[in-house]
């Protein structure tokens, strides 16, 4: 399959559900950000910073792990369209910020996953990495989905 056809196939696939690839990205990014907020909340509970969740144990840890996995999956179609089709663009401040921050999202993600598995690091390292990742996702959402919903249209 020629490389250019990949974009068309992707567009055909996405538009079976969404009105456009941009709308699909806006909603996938929204799902990822909402799950990132679940991540931050459950992480805070695991670290004993919140007490309103029902329990502090395996259930919260499981919610934390699965919300992270699903959030990662939600970012994949966004990554595919933004990085492999649209590329790094700087036509205005919003897009430039989005492109620049988006370049780092998987780097921060990989660093966070590595920090999770390295128990020799200081205790502050993991929450710092997690909050950094959530912040990156929020900035990306503000400069894409929120902008799309408020300037173009709010719909599928």
């Amino acid at each position: 399959m020629p490389l250019a056809d990949v974009a068309e196939t992707y567009t055909d696939l996405v538009t079976t559900v969404f009105s456009s690839t941009i709308a699909a990205k806006a909603w996938f990014a929204t799902a990822a950000v909402l799950l990132a907020l679940v991540q931050v909340t459950t992480a805070a509970r695991i670290y004993g910073k919140l007490s309103f969740l029902p329990e502090r144990g395996e259930t919260v840890a499981r919610i934390h792990r699965w919300s992270g996995r699903i959030a990662f999956l939600c970012t994949l179609p966004v990554f595919f369209h933004c990085v492999t089709i649209l590329g790094f663009q700087t036509p205005d401040a919003r897009v430039a910020i989005h492109s620049l921050v988006g370049t780092f999202v998987y780097g921060v993600f990989v660093a966070k996953v590595l920090i999770v598995r390295d128990h020799s690091l200081p205790r502050w390292a993991l929450p710092t990495a997690g909050l950094s990742l959530a912040s990156v996702l929020v900035v990306l959402w503000l400069t894409s989905s929120l902008w799309y919903f408020t300037n173009v249209r709010f719909g599928f």
Binding site: D5, F109, K112, P122
Partner: protein, 114 residues
């Protein structure tokens, strides 16, 4: 250098790889040279109504987005606007053949009538 730097260094390497991939745009459809050469005006009208008319109005009469009807745009200008975005219009609303079709349609309606 301590072991604690390893996640950061690997993370930076991933960011650099992402940037390189974004620069390559490996799946970006080639720009429709001339637009009308590869695009289908009829299909373009259908896509235009679906993707563009909400802002640019039916038949490009204008609205939130700029008017396109009889404005003398050429294919290169329209392609560039679709690919790069313009004002509040996001980049890449349509890509590939759909882009070529929309470009063909917009060029057809933007041609000044004799």
């Amino acid at each position: 250098m301590g072991r604690g730097w390893r996640p950061i260094l690997i993370g930076v390497a991933v960011a650099v790889a992402t940037f390189a991939l974004a620069q390559a745009q490996i799946f970006a459809p080639s720009a429709p040279a001339g637009g009308t050469a590869t695009g289908d005006v009829d299909r373009g009208e259908v896509i235009f109504q679906r993707e563009c008319a909400e802002c640019h109005g039916d038949e490009g009469a204008g609205g939130v987005g700029s008017a396109l009807f009889e404005t003398g745009l050429d294919a290169a200008e329209v392609s560039d606007a679709v690919q790069q975005g313009r004002g509040v219009m996001p980049a890449g609303i349509v890509t590939g053949q759909e882009q070529a079709d929309v470009v063909a349609y917009v060029v057809s309606i933007s041609s000044p009538s004799e």
